[in-house]
């Protein structure tokens, strides 16, 4: 077998030497034969002739020898390959368009497939991913809740269905003076290009690092191996154990130059000495989606960040997500049944713990789970890109069809000269396969580039609380195989149609170049018109909506939010008790100093405080009723009152932010300090509860006695009767896109109520004062971390803005790709028709038709489907844009510029694509066209 192959390969690639050998062998034979006859007494001339006659055709013998060597097929393949390459080189325009069209289709498909694979199909890089499960606590309105630490211990010690139960707890920022971090203040350029502005961290003398807490058996559960030193052991996770930490491989590599001495070193984290025991591999994520700098055992939690001893002991404090392996033979429902029993036991044992309700166990085999709600979106995306490839193939097929028509004569000649139909088919197939392979070769780097752009660059630009995803997205060998397979299938699929059609060619009619084209045109044109209609409609929908989104998000940057966002800076204090080691009193005192310091800066008009800043997330809502409405009894039944957004503010909040007081007054300093039962409301709130009446002096029932805390560690506002003392103008403080439906401003006590932020009103644009703020913070306390941003930068972090921007950019990318493909389609159709109708055009011109008339005639092939597609596209876009209105920031969903402008542009581009080949029709020389006959 191997020998046979070698024999053929040698014959193929050392063809010249094999051929010479064959020549020599046959020559030798003939010469011996001649010698023999000469010896027998014949003349040399006669002998030669006789020998040759006896031997028969030398060339035939050679041909048979080649056949016998089994290289004929390979050789003809090789010939066809070279011929195909020559043909492709001869028409570079055709080759380039076909390759680009397919490469786009293949590239986009590979991108989406890779992303889908990375999220939903590829198992996590952990031990036994098939049996890895995550356990969440479920409660009313909470389907993926965290367990408290004592509950985790209880489940860990009692479960019989899961093994190696480990816990992962959320991220905390810790500080250290011992590790230096390269500046992170430079924004990723992509973020800037997308229009996102990140707040700046004003660093003090120490560094801030992200830290993740995991139980001692976490790394064992996942089977992780250290890059240096060791990872955690269960002993590390005991209360009172010497504090240890593990460093991420990426930080070790980039910041510490993989210095092995770090293992065993002691660093101070939040004023506590920790020993670095090891380093994780580079890019190690475990079960996380973002890489922390440090990993610490759960037992160390009270020592770091905002952790307290309560974090480990209080069953009411949610702590982390639990992971484990299903034991052999245990199914998910089995485990869930057991855990429900355990949960019931816990409830019985600790009746005062209100949050113990249910459990949910899901497989954690892959990075993300695509739940039933997301499936339609995923399916639509995959369908859309598959359609893109289909369109690309259809376009290339129609290009090839046009080409086949021009090559009818060539094929006819070759057939009449005796070329085998099989061989011709093979040759045509090879040509199209070549195109497909070239496209695959272009598409693969294209895919890896787009993936890098989409996943790495764009996700790194998205605000971090949107969950930057550190997926591993370099195309692997499977993806490469997928690309090649698509390319090949495509090659065969679109190569076959024109090839078969070309072969049906009747030799005679092809040579005469008339034939019954009419019949073919009727059957093919309907389908091709339909394709153009669909393409134009689809890419118009994409382009109109992306224009709407981009214009809407641009508008967001100029929206008047109801307060003076241009002249406001937002200073967020990123430190609290344990991190500074300061007492609560000292913190309040320092904050007062900071307010004074910042307030006295030149260019600063006023400084105020609030529990949250407008449009910067952290929205909180509370149920509200008017005074005569009964607050719900506390039997756990749902609160059916309307909710209002709220924040606690200082008396000068309205003046500082530039929110005019319409009626009544703001709080006095004394009312604020005592947090008196009074409230300032927005105009919309007044209209909502007391339409047409004077709201001043009316009372609001805010919250209920035991309202659920909006965030862990916070208490919900409760007031059985707060008097309305003022009404202020409406603002966009919850969502940038719309005025708040109702908003309450509650009095903030500067000495009792800790808030982590200052709002500063400046004379000029706030961005110019950021360095001044830095030095002010340093003067008050050199160790303090403050994150600062002009308030209008916060606009770029508004979720609707982010969705609108990224959605707009993505859909315009796909839309432009679609437009390119649609243009190729139009180009192909018109080009084909010009070739087909050359004869007819010749006759028309001979009868006196003028070039513009001919142009119109040919262009009609594409105008009708293009216009129909445009009409359908506009109708579909109108339906879809209505659904987007929340993302448009007040832009009319029927925005004329987006609709009319984009439609006109698209139609013009499509007609231009048709005009290019149509020009050829005008240049038809009637004499030449008719002489063909």
């Amino acid at each position: 077998m191997l020998r046979d192959l070698w024999f053929r390969v040698r014959a193929l690639f050392w063809r010249r030497s094999v051929e010479t050998e064959l020549d020599e062998e046959l020559r030798f034979h003939l010469e011996r034969q001649v010698e023999k006859y000469v010896q027998n007494g014949l003349s040399r001339e006669e002998s030669q002739q006789r020998a040759r006659v006896e031997f028969g055709g030398v060339e035939l013998a050679k041909e048979e020898c080649r056949d016998a060597r089994g290289v004929r097929y390979l050789e003809s393949l090789w010939q066809d390959l070279r011929f195909g390459l020559r043909m492709l080189r001869k028409s570079p325009g055709f080759t380039a368009t076909a390759v680009v069209a397919l490469a786009v289709g293949i590239g986009v498909n590979t991108t989406v497939f890779t992303a889908f694979d990375a999220i939903a199909l590829r198992p996590r890089q952990v031990k036994d991913p098939d049996h890895l499960v995550g356990v969440y606590r479920t409660a009313q309105g909470e389907s993926y809740g965290a367990f408290s630490y004592p509950d985790y211990i209880y489940y860990r010690d009692h479960t019989k269905t899961l093994s190696d139960l480990a816990m992962w707890s959320g991220e905390t920022n810790v500080t250290t003076p011992d590790l230096s971090v390269a500046s992170t203040e430079n924004l990723p350029r992509v973020a800037g290009a997308l229009g996102f502005h990140m707040p700046q961290l004003l660093k003090g003398g120490v560094q801030r690092l992200t830290c993740i807490f995991v139980s001692g058996n976490y790394f064992q559960l996942l089977g992780a191996q250290p890059a240096a030193g060791r990872l955690f052991l269960p002993e590390d996770d005991q209360l009172g154990a010497p504090p240890v930490a593990v460093l991420s491989g990426n930080f070790w590599q980039t910041q510490l130059h993989s210095n092995p001495d770090i293992v065993g070193a002691t660093i101070r984290l939040d004023h506590v000495a920790f020993t670095i025991v090891g380093v994780t591999p580079v890019d190690y994520l475990g079960t996380l989606s973002r890489m922390p700098v440090l990993w610490a055992p759960t037992a160390a939690r009270p020592l770091l960040g905002d952790g307290t001893r309560e974090t480990l002991t209080n069953r009411n404090v949610p702590s982390g997500i639990v992971y484990g392996h299903l034991k052999a033979g245990i199914s998910l429902p089995d485990a869930e049944a057991e855990w429900k029993v355990l949960a019931a036991q816990l409830r019985a044992g600790y009746p005062d713990v209100e949050r113990n309700t249910g459990v949910r166990i899901i497989s954690e085999r892959t990075f993300g789970e695509i739940d039933s709600e997301a499936w339609p979106i995923v399916a639509a995306t995959m369908g859309a890109v598959a359609l893109l490839l289909l369109i690309a193939c259809a376009n290339v097929a129609s290009l090839l069809l046009g080409r086949a028509a021009t090559r009818r004569r060539e094929i006819g000649v070759r057939l009449s000269l005796g070329a085998g139909r099989r061989r011709l088919l093979q040759q045509l197939l090879i040509e199209s396969t070549l195109i497909a392979l070239l496209a695959g070769a272009v598409g693969l780097p294209l895919a890896s580039w787009t993936l890098h752009l989409l996943v790495v660059k764009i996700t790194s630009a998205i605000p971090s609380y949107w969950g930057a995803i550190a997926l591993q997205v370099s195309p692997d060998i499977r993806i490469f195989g997928y690309t090649v397979l698509i390319s090949l299938l495509t090659g065969v699929a679109f190569g076959l149609t024109p090839a078969l059609q070309a072969l049906r060619t009747d030799v005679n009619s092809a040579l005469k170049d008339s034939g019954s084209m009419l019949g073919e045109r009727l059957s093919k044109s309907r389908l091709r018109d339909l394709l153009i209609v669909a393409q134009v409609a689809a890419c118009l929908v994409l382009l109109i909506n992306s224009t709407l989104l981009l214009r809407g998000s641009e508008r967001a940057l100029h929206v008047d939010p109801g307060f003076d966002s241009k002249h406001l800076a937002h200073l967020s204090l990123e430190m609290n008790g344990p991190q500074t080691g300061y007492s609560q009193e000292r913190l309040f005192q320092l904050k007062g100093q900071l307010m004074d310091e910042v307030g006295s800066l030149p260019g600063v008009i006023a400084v105020t405080q609030a529990s949250r800043a407008p449009i910067s997330g952290g929205n909180r809502f509370v149920p509200v009723g008017i005074d005569n409405a009964e607050p719900p009894s506390n039997n756990g039944s749902e609160d059916k009152r309307p909710t209002a957004g709220y924040s606690y503010v200082l008396p000068n909040y309205f003046k500082t932010l530039g929110i005019p007081i319409v009626e009544g007054r703001t709080f006095t300093k004394q009312e604020a300090d005592t947090e008196a039962p009074i409230v300032v409301i927005s105009e919309a709130t007044a209209r909502r509860f007391w339409r047409g009446q004077n709201p001043l002096g009316k009372r609001l029932v805010i919250g209920s006695v035991k309202g659920p805390a909006p965030y862990p560690g916070e208490t919900a506002p409760y007031s059985p009767g707060s008097e309305v003392i003022g009404v202020v103008r409406d603002a966009h403080s919850l969502f940038l896109g719309k005025v708040d439906e109702s908003y309450l401003y509650l009095p903030l006590s500067q000495t009792r109520h800790w808030t982590s932020m200052l709002l500063v009103r400046t004379e000029d644009a706030a961005s110019g004062l950021l360095p001044t703020f830095r030095s002010a913070v340093r003067r008050v306390d050199p160790n303090w971390f403050v994150v600062v941003a002009p308030l209008d930068w916060m606009v770029s972090l508004d979720p609707y803005f982010v969705i609108s921007r990224i959605g707009g950019i993505l859909s315009s990318i796909v839309g432009v790709l679609g437009l390119i493909l649609a243009c190729l389609g139009v180009y192909g159709v018109v080009g084909y028709s010009v070739v087909q109708r050359t004869h007819e055009i010749g006759i028309r011109m001979a009868l006196g038709a003028r070039p513009p008339q001919v142009l119109g005639l040919v262009l009609r092939e594409c105008t009708r489907p293009t216009l129909l597609g445009t009409a359908i596209g506009i109708a579909l876009s109108a339906a879809i844009s209505r659904l987007l209105s929340a993302l448009l920031f007040g832009l009319n969903p029927m925005d004329a510029i987006s609709f009319a402008g984009v439609s006109l542009l698209l139609a013009a581009v499509a007609l231009f694509a048709g005009w290019l080949p149509a020009r050829r029709a005008m240049r038809v020389d009637p004499l030449v066209a008719l002489r063909y006959e």
């Binding site: 020599e24 062998e25 030798f28 034979h29 013998a61 016998a68």
Partner: protein, 110 residues
């Protein structure tokens, strides 16, 4: 040359080549001469089909070729049997004997 010429039945050329090479390595011309000689000029090898047959046998691995020097001091391509070629020769010989015996039997009884 006056002897009556019989065209070779399909498939027997391979057997004759193998048999000839079973005696000693030979080049193509010598093989055809040899077959003619041994068969007392009855069997005549169509020279045009000899070489394709040789190449086919070489591809199957039953014979192998090397370049050597002929008796008149010329470079010539010599073919020799390989081990599997020898086995093939035995197998084909047995099959041939069976075939001819059977054919003879049929002809004898008819």
């Amino acid at each position: 040359m006056t002897a009556q010429r019989i065209d070779l039945p399909q498939g027997t050329l391979d057997l004759l080549i193998l048999r000839t090479l079973g005696l000693q390595p030979q080049h193509g011309w010598a093989i055809s001469e040899r077959i003619q000689q041994i068969s007392s000029d009855v069997l005549r090898v169509q020279q045009g089909s000899l070489y394709p047959a040789l190449h086919r046998l070489e591809r199957r691995g039953w014979i192998k070729a090397r370049w050597g020097t002929s008796d008149n001091n010329r470079r010539a391509k010599y073919y020799e049997l390989t081990k599997s070629g020898r086995r093939q020769l035995e197998a084909e010989k047995v099959a041939w004997d069976k075939l001819t015996a059977a054919v003879a039997q049929v002809l004898g009884t008819a």
